[in-house]
Symmetry: C2
Subunit: 374 residues, 2 copies
């Protein structure tokens, strides 16, 4: 939980860095972690690194990603390239709308990876060219294309890419909200890294908040059936596992048990955590923690109508079919159109979602549901 | 994640409640959860329940607990009893300094359990009686005694009691801080339950925040040694597991790996979560999630000097001795006095801490450290 480093450690970091002549390609994980920790709180150090940094980009809350499907990645640009290309479109960025995401090794030392989020001005009303068109051209000139954050999270194959995007989106949103101290309403001084903000009057420090969320695959005692739910407003025919935010004073198991009661109105006999977790940035920053639960299948389901459209028990075969459909059509292009069909299991969430991994493991018979407790 | 219930559900709840004649001792868990959810957002309903409620109490941030050692519990009082007893000392409470903790079954229906936190005025300077003395008398008249929150968390045997206290402390602290909107600085309208606050100007809703924390028992590949740490400022001779707050965009495993690098300067080969979690209210509200990690024992330990005093590898026998000492002296009454001795393993955290459970399982040979991943 260190938030402040003593001078000794900081000195060692700087010394090690300034006088190193060997390649840091293999610079240790420990040194990297401690350097990031130092940059987080030392605004002046981070400011001097900024022009040497590499950056990923959002414009109007859309993310710059590689053109090549299906393996989507964020496009990473050098500071100079980004400055020049954006400049050609009359756009600019600085440290104030950037957040620190990671430290990258070069041949000689380490440089920061930032996420920069800018808003593009709307073109004049009489402009012959639309904003959408401008963004398309800008994406091209930057060697990529702009896409929806949610879609990027769902389709990125690499956990590192997804987690960096979750961090980028979470810190950007948090930094845009935390402008004033909730206790005394004075101005907050935001760190350059966006990893914290201090009240100029009462000196309280606020940190980016994100909430633990339990996501639970509910199975029956035979482990041959799973209860999946359809959220209001989600894409037609997509079913997933029950999830919900933990409340103060709950263990994760208690959270899972309560959320299941709230959302589908049934009680579970046991709950077990699955050693899988995933940061997720929408709609609010959360950390999804996977669980499996066992519930008797003869209970009357009573869905919470504000959250869910429907909740149903499915056989392993039915879920396997939906998994196959999803893997064949990861961008959910063939979504059902009719209302009845929307209520039928066609898809599960795409591979970027932790729900996908959980459901897939269960379909493959790798999720045992015994040996658990509540 | 429901935060608002449709009228249908609310109607069902009220109807079920108003017309029930059978005992609700067995009123289902689902109904209880949904009633709490309704009370949370319906201030008027909660206000009308307040005079029928039961309450637990903090005065000057000290908790009213039962007199009987060793099994400490919170003293639960009826609204009328508390009002009368506090009144005798010129103290009063109302819904504004109370938070909703739970719903309790009576013979006929359900009533709220609140936590009420009040500040006692300092006696006049020339008063012959000290504040400490007054609180002692007040505790007696309420059938208990006042104790430190941290000590209560560490010594309460029941998970339900600990988790209710964690909720009480977290919500009370949160409600005292979140007075103004961090985005626009306008006043926040706090729910009576203290489960959320809405900005009167921009309508943003803020929820009590608490952070996921990884707590990790580091073992060596033979599983015969464990790495424990001593925190600066903690009681002498007490060693525990490495812990730290998760940052935005991290999975719990990544958090554990980073915290270990930050705090003790070593890399781990694998990390596995343990299906144990615990809300903990000090210093900031957190949800501790247990992990076990494997690290090679020949790495040079380099502690973060602002956080830790020392970190050492111990044999299972050494840890077992400390466990035995702790179980025999759970209130840590025989703490070592000398500086050298403070750096020696004498105790582990008492039974109320998740670290205690983790270490105890390892000592008993019930914590396997294989079959894990990073």
């Amino acid at each position: 939980m260190p938030t402040f480093r003593s001078n000794i450690v900081v000195f060692n970091l700087i010394a090690r860095r300034a006088f190193t002549t060997t390649s840091t390609k293999n610079m240790g994980f420990v040194e990297k972690v401690r350097l990031l920790d130092y940059w987080k709180i030392q605004d002046s150090a981070l400011q001097s690194e900024f022009p040497r940094s590499r950056l990923v980009l959002m414009v109007d809350r859309r993310l710059l990603v590689t053109k090549d499907q299906p393996d989507v990645q964020m496009v990473e640009l050098s500071f100079d390239d980004l400055k020049q290309r954006l400049g050609e479109y009359g756009l600019q960025f600085d440290l104030s709308n950037s957040c620190l995401l990671d430290a990258l090794s070069t041949d000689v030392d380490m440089i920061p990876l930032f996420g920069t989020s800018i808003d593009a001005a709307d073109p004049p009303e009489d402009s012959p060219i639309s904003k959408k068109e401008v963004l398309k051209q800008l994406g091209n000139s930057l060697g990529g294309r702009f896409t929806d954050i949610r879609m990027a999270m769902l389709t990125m194959r690499e956990e590192r890419q997804r987690n960096l995007l979750a961090k980028f989106q979470s810190l950007t949103k948090w930094a845009s909200i935390y402008r004033r101290c909730p206790k005394c309403a004075a101005a907050l001084k935001m760190r350059s890294s966006k990893s914290g903000a201090e009240c100029v009057t009462c000196q309280r420090v606020y940190y980016p908040t994100f909430s633990p969320v339990s996501i639970t695959l509910i199975t029956d005692p035979t482990n041959e059936h799973a209860l999946l739910v359809r959220h209001r407003g989600s894409a037609g025919g997509v079913f997933t596992a029950v999830a919900g935010f933990a409340h103060s004073g709950e263990s994760m198991a208690e959270c899972a048990r309560r959320e299941i009661a709230e959302e589908v109105g049934i009680e579970v006999d046991s709950i077990r955590s699955l050693d899988m977790s995933q940061p997720w940035p929408m709609p609010d920053s959360s950390l999804m923690i996977a669980h499996v639960a066992v519930a008797k299948i003869d209970q009357k389901i009573s869905v919470c109508p504000d959250e869910l459209e429907t909740a149903q028990w499915f056989t392993r075969h039915q879920v396997k079919e939906a998994l196959t459909t999803t893997l064949a059509d990861p961008l959910l292009k063939n979504l059902p159109r009719t209302l009845d069909d929307r209520q039928t299991l066609h898809y599960i969430p795409p591979a970027g979602a932790i729900a996908h991994q959980m459901i897939r493991q269960w379909v493959d018979g790798k999720l045992e549901n015994h040996n658990s407790r509540i």
